[in-house]
């Protein structure tokens, strides 16, 4: 599924320019130390975490895009780093569980 299709269907707000590629799978975590051991390349990361180290971790394992849940929005320097890394950033108003359910119901596995 392409990121634009995901954004449309799941009601996500894009907060940076993103490359509209297909993503392959989802990883959910709020710990950067966990992300580097669990997230895979080209996946979608769902998190509450908005710290800059999140981008350092996501870039290392080549995460495709990040969805911040519960309306959390990262600071400008975090968005700037994600831009440099080519990582798409989206915001959802729903919580992590609801986001996971939405994705599952959309057929994302």
């Amino acid at each position: 599924m392409k990121l634009s299709e995901l954004a449309n269907k799941a009601g996500l707000k894009a907060i940076n320019k993103y490359k509209d590629d297909n993503f392959e799978g989802v990883y959910i975590s709020d710990m950067v130390s966990d992300i580097i051991t669990g997230a895979k390349a080209n996946t979608l990361l769902i998190t509450l975490q908005t710290h800059k180290s999140l981008i350092a971790a996501a870039n290392l394992v080549d995460v495709s895009a990040i969805v911040f849940v519960k309306g959390k929005t990262p600071a400008a320097d975090v968005i700037e780093l994600a831009d440099k890394a080519g990582i798409g950033l989206f915001v959802s108003e729903v919580d992590t569980w609801s986001m996971a359910l939405k994705l599952f119901n959309m057929g994302v596995r």
Partner: protein, 173 residues
């Protein structure tokens, strides 16, 4: 000599705390990984050093294992990873990044002793395997991860970067 074109995966993943200590006598820094339920905060004498707790963060340690030939690379000497944002043109880390070219992201593998007084840092075999591991699955064309040992940093206190650690979460206790 192995002819295996290694395909690495993480192995022996351990969750715990990265504990930072400082010696007020020499200004040295040290770090160790603890798997205790709560990060240890003891102060203690070790030779000429008097180590004082500076802070801790939740962290994860791992080794690498080749799924093809079974070779294991131990990464016990690596305490963490830091995305380099250093802009000192004299810093070796910056020079390595420039040499590798556009699309390269340099990450510094942090060892336990920032002073490198023992002459040791993260080993060459571990650095090679980390580079192979983090690059083997990259999907973005032209993107490259370069991991270097922290003895390449201009100065561990001045060399800028973003450490991949869950700082602050230990305050939950």
């Amino acid at each position: 000599m192995s002819t295996c074109n290694h395909k690495w995966e993480m192995a022996d993943i351990r969750h715990g705390y990265l504990v930072m200590e400082g010696c007020p006598r020499c200004g040295g820094r040290a770090a160790f990984f603890s798997t205790e339920a709560i990060a240890p905060i003891d102060e203690y004498q070790e030779g000429d050093h008097y180590w004082v707790y500076l802070g801790s963060s939740q962290a994860t340690k791992f080794n690498l294992k080749c799924v093809e030939c079974g070779k294991r690379v131990n990464l016990d000497d690596m305490m963490g990873l830091m995305m380099s944002t250093c802009d000192d043109p004299e810093c070796a880390v910056v020079k390595i990044g420039k040499k590798e070219g556009k699309g390269t992201w340099v990450y510094v593998a942090l060892c336990a002793d920032s002073t490198h007084a023992s002459g040791k840092c993260v080993g060459a075999e571990g650095i090679k395997a980390l580079n192979e591991y983090f690059n083997q699955n990259i999907k973005v064309p032209g993107k490259k991860i370069t991991v270097v040992p922290c003895d390449q940093c201009c100065n561990i206190d001045r060399c800028k970067g973003i450490v991949i650690a869950d700082t602050g979460l230990t305050e939950i206790y």
